[in-house]
Amino acid sequence: MAEFEPVLLANVGKDNSHTLKAYEAVGGYRALRETLKDKSPDDLITTVRASNLRGRGGAGFPTGLKWSFLPDDHPGPVYLCVNADESEPGTFCNRVLLEEDPHQVLEGTILSSFATRASTAYVYLRYEYPKSLARLQAAIDECYGAGYLGKNVLGTDFSLDVYVHRGAAAYVCGEETGLIESLEGKRAWPRIKPPFPAVEGLFRKPTVVNNVETMACVKHIVDRGPEWFKSIGTPADPHNPRDPGSYGPKLYQVSGHVNRPGVYEAPLGLPCRELVDRFAGGVWKGRKVKAVVPGGLSTGLLAADQLDTPLDFDGPVQAGCLGLGTAGAIVLDETYPIIDFLYNSCRFFAHESCGQCTPCREGTHWALSMVERIKAGRGRLKDLELLGEIGDSIGIIPGTTICGLADGAAWPIKTALAKFRDELEDYVKQTNPAGYADIQPAIAMPAMTTH
């Protein structure tokens, strides 16, 4: 592992790394030139499929497979949407890519558009990233000037326009159909599937939605070949024919109680402990780890004894979490009360639930009102039981809601209860010694302050 050279972050930190000149100086747009010279879109899809690249946005769906769902004989237009609505708590690698190396993402976007035969690509950018907006827009302008974008890219038949659309800061816009609705100018309520976006997406046309980091990976796969990509990471489980493996470099983000929070690039499968200790410089103030959120808030919690979990697409699942998510690790030190974690996550998801489906809209709100009451010293052991049931009902029955974000709201609750039940019970007993065993309904807290 020592010989691993950062690829995605190779240019970050260099002078003017966000400019076209600097990017071309390190071989930028070489892959695009080579591809447009003699490759067909299908060649490109084959290349990406061969690399087993899995989407970096959280769900880990194989990118090449997603592309292949596009109808073959559609008259078009086909749209490509780049999901830069990076709103999962603990996640910030897209920001680094867009601020420091936007051309890398753009080259991947142009290549992906070529592969999917899209003539228009939209980058759906999170509202809170003004610097990314400025740098990305500047990069797009440079590309138009250099002939990488616009009509007849590099003199070929392929034409592409890229537009940046700035979101209005809603978590649910990161869900692909929520993103599409928002792009269309509507309220970002995820659509019911089928039809899937590949069949009927943006403006009811075939659409592919990919993450920013996925776009960057596409660029390197085309540049260096799928074999290079597959030489990195965790191979597929030979006993599980449905496991596509976890290949390639990944941007890991560490935040929370560590000495050196930040974005680090490592091969997929990096053990959590190594991420915390080696990359992030260990827990701050000499304390120990209590828990780590492995990949963005919605993935749940890894307990201190699960730190050897490899952070690939499958590892966190084996440890009882939702998945790798966005690989945005949040480290909690030993002094941090789990009830606060629970409160924060419940508040976030109650605030960000789009409110379309009953289980998520009501469940997240219900959970928050109970956790608020527990924190106010009026908790009951029964509340923990109910919280567990809410966690199960909004997330565990597959298909309970239209989009996957309800699952995300459930896992922090479920994992906190599963792994830190004793601490939570002690908290309830200590803060509410008189009434912790009550089972009668309690008087609700005054109306929620958080909105």
Partner: protein
Amino acid sequence: MATITVDGIEIEIRTGERLNAIEAAARAGVEIPHYCWHPGLSVVGSCRMCLVEIGTRDPSGKVSMGPKLMPACNTLVRDGTVIVTQSEKVQHARALVEEGLLLRHPVDCPICDKAGECRLQDYYFEYGQAEGRRADIRPFTSRRRDLGDVTFFTDRCILCTRCVRFTREISGTSELMVRDRGAHEEIDIVEGFPLNNKLSGNVVDLCPVGALGDKDFLYKQRVWFMRRHQGVCTGCATGCSIWVEENQDRVHRIKPRENPEVNRWWICNDGRYGYPHVHDPDRLVGAVHRDAGRTVPLDFTGLAARLRDGLQASGGTLGAVLSPFLTVEEAYLLATAIRQLDSGAVLAIGPVPVVGEDERFPGGFTIAAEKCPNRLGVEKVLAHFTGGVTSFDQFVAKVGEGALTGAWVSGGYRDPWIEERTAEKFARLKTLVVQDLFPSPLSKRATFELGGAAFPERDGSYVNRQHRLQSVGWAIRPPAGTRTEGSILWELCGREGLYNASVVLQELARKIPAFGAAVGDFSDIGIDLRLNQLA
């Protein structure tokens, strides 16, 4: 043919028929509960009440069930689809949705207009779990807000968004929206742009709970006190199928009756709120005879004989005006009776009110400019008797020329329909029988002034502008002392017993080719009279 299995019951649907699992299950007699889905609106699949298990049966008969619960509303059935609606998994999911919806619901059923026809009530009874687990008791709230044509009870709303979709897809007016996010969501309007379109009343019907209150109906009746009767709206030539809901001969509410051939699931506000004239105290009631300045009330019994004598006493040519508000049966009986008295009697159609132009909505609903229910029906009857259609103006001209000595004029209009100037011309007649809903310049001059029936009081059939004949029965009785057109005319024709519209319809359908399609039984949605003319 495609074979679908619903809870072990096999049903067949036509190849190419697009049904979702809710519709397919309904064919098998299985109800899949749902809130947000409505056959007339787009599918959002957000309430999650209709989650069921979906599987497929391969040609060998092997059934493989999907791992996930699927929303039935968004699952199109195909040959071999297997739907399981009663498994433990499904019932658990339903109970959780019911629990979620009731968490912040005020449960103020005793003061809610919807109680008794509320899905939240019905489904809780059927699918809810006995244990109430609301952990946090909140003070009762009953916020309400004026949205324009309807009142919105904020706390009762379950966010199914049917009303929002209706204003976007059917009325095309988009007044309603969802405000805020998550548990704070509320249905609202943009300030200054209230819900005020001609179809707005439908959002109240669409609301599966008591969140949208009809201002006209609010707190007037508990729904279980009312009986509903099939009716046809007589407000315009569209002839929407309606339910007339009454209690003790008083109409309290008009609701649309589903009719895929006419109005689908909707009616307009003109029709929905167009019933108060039925209970107008100014209505003409009873019957009077005016003779040499004396006004004598007429008895109910023997009325027809008096009228017959009066008309015959005029001594010359008779005439009759068949109002486009008459049912087909009444028009036929009137024409028959007058022709019995005078085989050369002049028959004409009453004035046909037309207001503006047809209004067409994006969802396909049309409000016709012609504000009467049965012009085509009456014209078809007239064509049978006279070979053509004499207009009211031609009739008035004949009266003015002195060509007639006696006439029977039927009214039934809701609005004033004849001017003093026109009515004056009828003064020349020796005998004038007027049967109308409201006093008019003409009825004042009538020798025999008869109160008529309003639309919920009539038995009979109407032919709408698409030549669709719909037959309905009466919903309420006419005011005391008033006889319906049908019953007087039945007697005038010398028939025994009580007026029976279906007997008349069958008779005229056999006699008049234009009504041939109505021979025998036809369904509640009516019959297209052009059918056998095409055959």
